[in-house]
Symmetry: C2
């Protein structure tokens, strides 16, 4: 069953967990599928389908128990046991990501950060120890790290990906704008922040003009 | 023709500009469609189609002139004349985005940042002046700003969106995890960094286990 789980399902489960934790913090104890779908922009049927992935088969006349749901989502993400990540590139973006991700996800912890510039290594930034990039491959292997975040400048992205592959990484979140090429069997997702903001600015601009 | 331009086309044009600027900096003067497509993960036919959007109709026996292409992409993005943006939420993520976006895009400039916490306002961060959120609506109106970036905590996202709509914003890039509801005619794009990293960690984890 695990093999059939789509990226979209994993995305929604990630989102549910954070919404449910917010509700638990407010003292709420149960939630109906239509309430959860209203908060995530999906449908109640989709929420119920996602719940089946977590092992909920019955009806939910009283709604889902929030604490149990959070626990089930945790089991789903923690199932395989490998949650260590590294980050490469300690520039503005890299430091920002270290600050943002520190303690944010129970399923992913950045264990070490790397850079080619000596001035950026040999210290701790937002709780994360920073090493020269020469130590990337040995540290990935020694610590059996499976996820990496690439936050290096464009020209260094492919070279960084090659090192990560050499170290044995199996998933990469790439913030550099160009595509990286990796062997089959390694999962890659790309986030291009400049593209996203230029796209929004373009359409905002267009809609702004239409109003005039 | 402008109306038919898809989000994907705008995304690719954003990416082309940055790749072409990198090549121009290396002293290159022309490029073939298949060379550009190899760098962006698309096809040469798609590159040529995107070039038609920019007004290139002829064949390109000698390739495209890089300086001219950068100029054409600039005209495309700058066409409507409204490129001012604001950012709301000066926490870790907001500060990170201010650092990252400072001077990065010629088509989008963050003019002001806002927060509800008095300690975070009344100063300049990464070249951007920070104001109390009370001043958001008047500043958007006075400066005719059309793009906004939401980097506030989840619970404050909808309230922030409501203020942005009141001010007259026409495009929003939302980094808060829950969906925001805005009137039709306002362009919204969402980036959920935690979701992205948890998704990569999940699939990395799965592939890691498959190798064992």
């Amino acid at each position: 069953m695990i093999d059939a789980i789509s990226e979209k399902t994993v995305e929604r489960l990630s989102l549910y967990r954070r919404i449910l934790e917010g509700m638990a913090a407010e003292g709420k104890t149960s939630i109906f599928s239509h309430q959860l779908s209203a908060l995530t922009g999906g449908t109640a049927a989709q929420v119920r389908q996602d719940m089946r992935v977590l092992g909920y088969n019955g009806s939910s006349a009283n709604g889902y128990d929030i604490a149990q749901l959070i626990e089930s989502i945790g089991l789903f993400f923690r199932g395989k046991g490998c949650h260590k990540a590294v980050l490469v590139g300690i520039g503005n973006l890299g430091r920002a990501l270290l600050a943002y991700f520190a303690g944010r996800s129970p399923y992913m912890e950045i264990q070490a950060a790397f850079d080619t510039e000596p001035g950026k290594t040999g210290r701790v930034i937002h709780g994360c120890r920073c090493y020269p990039v020469d130590e990337l491959v040995p540290i990935i292997r020694r610590e059996t790290i499976c996820t990496a975040i690439i936050a290096v400048p464009d020209q260094a992205a492919q070279q960084t990906a090659d090192l990560l592959v050499e170290g044995g990484i199996s998933g990469i979140l790439n913030f550099a704008p160009t595509r990286i090429h990796v062997p089959a069997g390694i999962y890659v997702d790309n986030i291009d922040l400049t593209m996203s903001v230029e796209k929004v600015a373009y359409f905002a601009n267009k809609k702004f003009k239409e109003k005039e």
